[in-house]
C-alpha cells in the first residue's frame, strides 16, 4: 500500500557555524537528521532513491538566517509532531521554528529583509547618511551572471535595495535592508556591503578590528505579504 504523503513546509533557522555550510551540505545535514528523527518522508523514485527535499531560496554562504524554508512530504504525521521530532535530531543552530501546510508557492517570493552589522575603524558618525545618499544614485557592482563570458557584469543594485534603517551606535553600523530576491533578480546582501566598503573606503579585511554580519529576517511575496 502506498502511504498518502502530505506536503509540509518547515521554517527553520541557520545560525552560528552553520552559516558557513553550503546548500548541498545543508541538504545532507537535514537528510541525516530526518533519518535520525524517524519521520517517514517521501523518497524520490529513481534508480538511487533519496529523500525528496525542496529548499527555497537558501541563504548564501556566510549569512545567518531565521527564515529558511524547506518542503517535505510526510505520511501520517501532523506538522507539530514533525517539528518536535526533527528538532530533537537537528543541531542546536539549525532548529525548526514552524511547520505548516504551505499556502504559497516558492515562485511568489519577491524580496527578503536583512539586518546587517558592520564594524570597522573607518566608520564615523557621517557614514549612515553617506550610505543613504549613495543609494539615492546608481550603485554599480560586478554582479555574477551566467550570461557574461567573464562570469560577472556591471549591474545597478540601487533600484532593488531599500534601506529602512541605518544607524551608527558608536561601535557598529546597523542597517535594516530589504532587497530583491525573486527568480529574475536576486541581490546577495554581500553586494551591498562590498559596495559600501569600496565606495566609502571602509576596510573590512583585518579580523582584529573589522567584522560584518548578515541575518536574514523575513521573506515577502509579490503582494507584500509574508511568504508562508
Amino acid at each position: 500500500m502506498v502511504p498518502e504523503y502530505k506536503k509540509i513546509r518547515l521554517r527553520f533557522n541557520k545560525l552560528g557555524p552553520l552559516k558557513f555550510i553550503s546548500h548541498l551540505d545543508l541538504d545532507r545535514t537535514v537528510k541525516a537528521a530526518i533519518t535520525r528523527s524517524g519521520v517517514k518522508i517521501e523518497y524520490t523514485h529513481g534508480y538511487n532513491p533519496r529523500p525528496h527535499l525542496v529548499f527555497s531560496l537558501p541563504a548564501a554562504l556566510g549569512m545567518e538566517s531565521v527564515c529558511e524554508f524547506l518542503d517535505i512530504k510526510v505520511a501520517g504525521m501532523e506538522p507539530d509532531e514533525v517539528r518536535t521530532r526533527l528538532n530533537g535530531a537537528l543541531p542546536p543552530d539549525l532548529q525548526i521554528i514552524e511547520a505548516y501546510e504551505p499556502q504559497t508557492d516558492f515562485r511568489q517570493i519577491e524580496t527578503s529583509s536583512y539586518v546587517i552589522n558592520i564594524v570597522s575603524p573607518d566608520i564615523t558618525e557621517e557614514t549612515p547618511q553617506r550610505i543613504i545618499n549613495m543609494f539615492a544614485s546608481p550603485v554599480i557592482v560586478e554582479k555574477r551572471t551566467k550570461k557574461s563570458e567573464t562570469g560577472t557584469a556591471p549591474f545597478d543594485i540601487a533600484p532593488y535595495v531599500k534601506i529602512t534603517k541605518c544607524e551608527y551606535d558608536g561601535e557598529k553600523l546597523v542597517m535594516n535592508v530589504s532587497a530583491a530576491a525573486s527568480n529574475s533578480v536576486y541581490i546577495n546582501p554581500d553586494y551591498i556591503i562590498k559596495a559600501i566598503s569600496v565606495n566609502l573606503q571602509i576596510s573590512l579585511i583585518d579580523p582584529q578590528t573589522s567584522l560584518y554580519t548578515v541575518l536574514r529576517t523575513e521573506v515577502y511575496c509579490q503582494d507584500g505579504q509574508l511568504f508562508r
Binding site: L18, I21, D25, A32, T35, R36, Y47, L61, P207, L211
Partner: protein
C-alpha cells in the same frame, strides 16, 4: 566558531574551520586534567574520513579526566590569513591554540604528510624540534602506520606510540596527569617514564652511530630502564574493543562520509610487498553480532545512508555471510546501502554480488597487483588469472560492464614479460565478456590503475632496491604501448612521488634535517599533486648533502642494522628473511586460514582468529 567571521569570509570552504559539528564532544576545560589535541596532517575533509582518528577521539573522550579535541592542516589560503594576522592554529572544539595543549598527537598515515606535520607545528606556534621545546610546550606524540619507521621524523617528535592506540594513549595521558598531580613532572622526567611504558618509543633516549658508508653502526638506549626493543601494542580482545558509535558528523562534504565498521584487524594473506598485512597482525575478528549492533547504533546516532565494512581483506572475514544477512534485515527498509571495499577476486561470488547490489552498487575493483602468474607467486598474491576472470564474469553476469583492477610495477624480479602480462590479462577479461551468453548490452571497460612499487619496512621486500626513475618511466611507457585496446583505460601516476615516498619510508634520522629544510622552504601538502614538486625534493636532498639513492635504489644486506630494528611489530625478522628467499624461488606461502607460516605475531597474544597457539 573561534576564528573571526572576517577571516573565515576570506577563505575557501570556511566550514573546515568552524567546528561545532553534530556529535562533537564538548567538555568543561576546567574540569579535565589532560588537554589532548588530535592533529591530522592533511585537510579537514581527509582527516574527518579517517576511522582511526574517530576511534581514538572517542576512546580518549570516554575518560572523564581527558578532553580530546581535533585540528587539521589548514588550506594555504587560511595559512595566509593566520600568518598575516599572527593568529595561531586552533582546535575545532574550543578554539585553543595548539601550543596551549598538554599533549598534541599526530597520526602519520602516509610519508608525504611529513611536511604537513611541521607546517602544523609552525602554525600552532610550537618549536619544530623536540630538543628545542620547553616545559610549557605540549608533548608531541606520533602514531599510525608510518610510526613503524619513525626515524625520518624522530627529531620532531617527543615520543611515538607504536601499535594500536585505543588503550595505550589513555595510559599515556594518565601517566601525564599522575606526574603533574604529584608535582614530579618535568619534560625530561616524563619522557623517561614514558619510554618504559609498553609500546612507547622516545627517540631522544637512544644513541645512533653510523658507519662510513652511511649505514647504521649501532643503535642503543642511553639510560638504564629504556628498552632496546619496543613491542607494538595490540587490542587483545578485539570484539570488546572500544568503537565510536557516535562519530562527529562533518557538515561539509568529506572523502568518506558514511558508517564505517571495522570487521577485522590484520590480514591472513601475507602479500610480500604489503606493510599493512604485516603490522596489523595477529588477525582478530569481531563477531557478526557485535558488528551488527555497532552498525545499527551508529545508524541511529547519525542517520547515514551507507555502511562500509572495512578491513584489509573483507571477503576473508569468516562471518561475512552471517554479518551481511544480519545487516540486510534492517538496512533495506531504512534505505541504507552496503559497500564492501577490499574484496578479493578469488572470493567474489554470486551471492555476495547480490547482497551488495540489493540496494545499489558501485564499480567493482579487484587487486591483481601483477600481470603474470610467475610474478604473482613472487609477491605471494595467491590469486590466479582464472580467479580474476571468474570474478569479472560474476560482475558482468550481474549487469556490469566496467571493472577496475589495481596493479603495481617495479616488483623485485620483474621483467618486460610481466609488464606485457598486465595488458594480456586485461584483454582476457574483455574476451571473457564477449564469451558470456548473458552479458549486458554495450562494450566492456577495463580500467587499470598502475602504481609504482615502494619497498616498505616490515615486509619481505624491506631490503630491496627500488627501480630507478628512468626504469619506472620506461615500464610505464611500455605498458602504454601494450594497452593498445580502447576498451582498456590505463591510469598511472608519475613515478617521482613514489621515489620520495620510498626514501622517507625507509629513511633514518639523517632525514630529519632534510624535512626541516623542506619546511623552511615552505613545502607542504606534498600528498597533493598540485603542491608536490619532484624537482624541489630532489634539489632539497642534494642541497642537504644526502644521496636519495642510498635510501631508494640501494639493496640492503640482510645483516645490516635497519633504522626500524628497535621496533617489534610482532612478525619476526626471521620470517621476513624466509619469505624473501621464497620470493626469489617463486614459492608461495599459504594464507593463515590454510596453514600457519610461523610469522611470530601470535606471541603478542590476544583472541586471534587463526593463530594455532592462541586460537579460542
Amino acid at each position: 566558531m573561534f576564528y573571526k567571521d572576517t577571516l573565515l569570509k576570506q577563505v575557501l570552504k570556511p566550514g573546515r574551520y568552524t567546528g561545532g559539528e553534530f556529535n562533537q564532544v564538548i567538555k568543561d576545560v576546567n574540569k579535565v586534567k589532560c588537554r589532548f589535541c588530535f592533529a591530522f596532517p592533511d585537510t579537514y575533509e581527509i582527516g574527518m574520513s579517517n576511522l582511526g582518528v574517530r576511534i581514538l577521539y572517542g576512546a580518549l573522550n570516554e575518560d572523564p579526566d581527558i578532553y580530546c579535541e581535533r585540528a587539521y592542516a589548514p588550506w594555504v589560503d587560511m595559512e595566509e590569513q593566520l600568518v598575516k594576522h599572527g593568529i595561531p592554529l586552533c582546535s575545532l572544539e574550543t578554539g585553543t591554540p595548539l601550543c596551549d595543549f598538554d599533549i598534541l598527537g599526530f597520526t602519520l598515515q602516509y610519508e608525504l604528510c611529513y611536511t604537513n606535520v611541521l607546517y602544523m607545528l609552525r602554525l600552532g606556534q610550537i618549536p619544530l624540534l623536540s630538543a628545542e621545546r620547553g616545559e610549557d610546550d605540549p608533548i608531541v606524540i606520533g602514531g599510525g602506520p608510518c610510526s613503524y619507521n619513525p626515524e625520518p621524523v624522530a627529531d620532531f617528535f617527543d615520543v611515538f606510540s607504536i601499535g594500536e592506540g585505543e588503550e595505550a594513549l589513555v595510559e599515556f595521558s594518565h601517566l601525564y596527569t599522575d606526574m603533574k598531580a604529584s608535582g614530579e613532572y618535568t619534560r625530561q622526567k616524563f619522557l623517561r617514564a614514558a619510554a618504559s611504558l609498553p609500546g612507547f618509543y622516545v627517540p631522544c633516549m637512544y644513541d645512533v652511530d653510523y658507519n662510513e658508508d652511511g649505514t647504521i653502526k649501532s643503535f642503543s638506549p642511553k639510560y638504564d630502564g629504556v628498552p632496546e626493543k619496543i613491542t607494538k601494542r595490540i587490542i587483545k580482545d578485539f570484539d570488546k574493543a572500544y568503537f565510536p558509535t557516535k562519530p562527529v558528523m562533518p557538515y561539509i562534504e568529506c572523502v568518506q562520509d558514511r558508517i564505517t565498521v571495522e570487521i577485522m584487524r590484520g590480514c591472513i594473506r601475507g602479500c610480500r610487498f604489503c606493510q599493512a598485512g604485516m603490522i596489523y597482525r595477529p588477525i582478530r575478528e569481531k563477531s557478526p553480532q557485535t558488528l551488527n549492533e555497532q552498525a545499527k547504533q551508529t545508524f541511529d546516532n547519525t542517520g547515514y545512508g551507507e555502511i562500509s565494512l572495512i578491513s584489509l581483506s573483507t571477503s576473508d572475514y569468516t562471518g561475512l555471510h552471517d554479518l551481511t544477512d544480519k545487516l540486510l534485515s534492517w538496512t533495506d527498509e531504512n534505505m541504507v546501502s552496503l559497500s564492501l571495499p577490499s574484496l578479493r577476486a578469488d572470493s567474489f561470488t554470486d551471492e555476495l554480488m547480490q547482497k551488495i547490489s540489493s540496494v545499489r552498487t558501485t564499480t567493482l575493483t579487484f587487486a591483481a597487483e601483477a600481470g603474470t602468474q610467475r610474478l604473482r607467486d613472487v609477491i605471494n598474491k595467491n590469486i590466479t588469472e582464472e580467479e580474476v576472470l571468474k570474478a569479472c564474469r560474476v560482475a558482468f553476469a550481474a549487469g556490469k560492464t566496467a571493472v577496475k583492477l589495481y596493479f603495481m610495477i617495479g616488483h623485485p624480479t620483474e621483467t618486460d614479460e610481466d609488464i606485457k602480462g598486465i595488458a594480456d590479462l586485461c584483454k582476457h577479461i574483455i574476451d571473457a565478456f564477449y564469451e558470456l551468453e548473458d552479458r549486458p548490452k554495450g562494450k566492456p571497460q577495463v580500467t587499470i590503475s598502475v602504481a609504482c612499487f615502494i619497498p616498505k619496512p616490515f615486509t619481505a621486500f624491506q631490503w630491496e632496491g627500488q627501480d630507478t626513475l628512468e626504469e619506472f618511466r620506461r615500464k610505464q611507457k611500455l605498458l602504454g604501448h601494450y594497452c593498445d585496446d580502447r576498451r582498456i583505460k590505463y591510469n598511472y601516476h608519475d613515478a617521482d612521488g613514489s621515489i620520495i615516498e620510498a626514501a622517507l619510508a625507509r629513511g633514518d634520522r639523517k632525514l630529519s634535517a632534510v624535512l626541516l629544510e623542506a619546511e623552511r622552504r615552505g613545502m607542504k601538502f606534498d600528498a597533493w599533486s598540485e603542491f608536490f614538486k619532484a624537482d624541489k625534493w630532489f634539489s632539497l636532498f642534494e642541497d642537504c648533502g644526502i644521496d636519495i639513492k642510498f635510501y631508494t635504489e640501494r639493496k640492503r644486506d640482510t645483516g645490516e642494522i635497519l633504522p626500524w630494528d628497535m621496533i617489534d611489530c610482532g612478525v619476526s625478522k626471521a620470517f621476513f628473511k624466509r619469505e624473501r628467499e621464497k620470493a626469489y624461488e617463486g614459492i608461495t606461502t599459504q594464507s593463515c586460514a590454510e596453514a600457519c607460516a610461523g610469522c611470530g605475531a601470535n606471541r603478542l597474544g590476544g583472541e586471534c582468529t587463526w593463530c594455532p597457539n592462541t586460537k579460542k
